[in-house]
């Protein structure tokens, strides 16, 4: 769709040094951005009138530990990617923004001051993947209990490893 091309191309034109790559697949428009520039790019996407992405639909992460080969070769092969799905009510277009995050320092700036929707989504990413969000007002576990050790959706967390509060382990 022509609009989709415009979004990722505009972002790349505006932030040439921050954008690692863009691609379209099955009608979805994706931009991979450097971690340091996420706040700037997000602000541009929200405030620019031609972009007007006022809804943060989804914020999640993917752990690429067991992925056969990475699709985007440029840039360091990072273990995690934080994925933002944005939608514009005015123009009706969508974009996906991905931030590669390394295993050594899994930290990204929080976007809660741009979209309050990011609050709980980021808490869930912290809970499930262990990626910290700098500047988040209340970064604690959302779905698991506080005594739980580890981050369950990481690929190296075995699916059956239980840490019960009461009752037998298995």
């Amino acid at each position: 769709m022509p609009e989709a091309l415009t979004v990722s191309r505009r972002v790349r034109d505006r932030f040439p040094e921050a954008v690692l790559t863009t691609h379209q697949f099955r009608g979805d428009d994706t931009v991979v951005v450097r971690r340091e520039a996420v706040k700037e790019v997000a602000r541009f996407l929200r405030d620019d009138p031609a972009m007007a992405f006022n809804v943060l639909m989804d914020l999640t992460a993917v752990d690429y530990l067991r992925y056969p080969e990475r699709r985007e070769p440029p840039g360091p092969t990072a273990r995690f990617e934080v994925v933002y799905h944005l939608y514009s009510l005015e123009h009706g277009h969508r974009v996906r923004v991905k931030i590669p995050v390394g295993e050594g320092d899994p930290m990204v700036e929080s976007l809660t001051d741009l979209w309050p929707a990011a609050d709980w989504f980021e808490r869930e990413v912290w809970d499930m993947f262990g990626i910290q969000f700098l500047g988040h007002p209340n970064l604690k576990r959302l779905l698991m209990y506080e005594e739980f050790q580890g981050h369950p959706l990481r690929k190296d967390y075995p699916v059956n490893k239980r840490q019960p509060l009461i009752g037998p382990v298995n």
Binding site: M144, Y145, P152, Y157, V159, R162, Q163, P164, I166, G167
Partner: protein, 170 residues
């Protein structure tokens, strides 16, 4: 003990059992999808009120049957145990749905594999979710169990041996 006294306690047991089984005050501890079938069983089509069990008591102090409906996660298990402990004797537990019987197909880090790991269960109703007819069948089995229970110490004796022979309800 012999003769007429035994006949009287048997009749008393039967009468108390009859009264108890037709006045079940249930505590529906509803968490997940089975709750929908619980609602369907409790409502007009498959009316559970005709068994005398139509009045849920939402306080554990006032209830005698704990219907555990839906998956119990490890985060919720201590809460469930507390509810069970807060109920007063005589009390029964019904495991409604296969997630409460054995954990269902959620064999992972988050789910309790059956509530009988933390509390004694009287009736298991499998199904994902069980049809209302299954639920009513389970309820009838529970009623049979309630009817068959002996109540209290035999009249006039307090020795352990006769208490055992009268089948004291633990």
């Amino acid at each position: 003990m012999t003769g007429p006294l035994q006949w009287m306690t048997t009749k008393l047991d039967a009468a108390v059992g009859w009264a108890r089984k037709f006045s079940i005050f249930q505590y529906p501890f509803v968490t997940a999808c089975c709750g929908m079938e619980y609602m369907a069983t409790a409502c007009s089509h498959y009316d559970v009120d005709r068994f005398g069990a139509g009045f849920p008591r939402f306080s554990p102090r006032q209830a005698d049957v704990l219907f555990v409906v839906g998956t119990i996660s490890h985060k919720l298990a201590p809460v469930l145990k507390k509810i069970y402990d807060q109920m007063t004797e005589p009390k029964w537990v019904v495991a409604f749905g296969v997630c409460t019987c054995t954990g269902g197909f959620y064999d992972n880090y988050a789910t309790l594999m059956g509530i009988d790991t933390i509390m004694p269960v009287d009736v298991y109703i499998p199904g994902c979710p069980p049809r209302p007819e299954n639920v009513l069948d389970g309820l009838i089995k529970l009623q049979a169990k309630i009817q068959a229970q002996h109540t209290g110490t035999p009249l006039g004796t307090s020795s352990g041996a006769s208490a055992a022979s009268a089948g004291l309800h633990a």
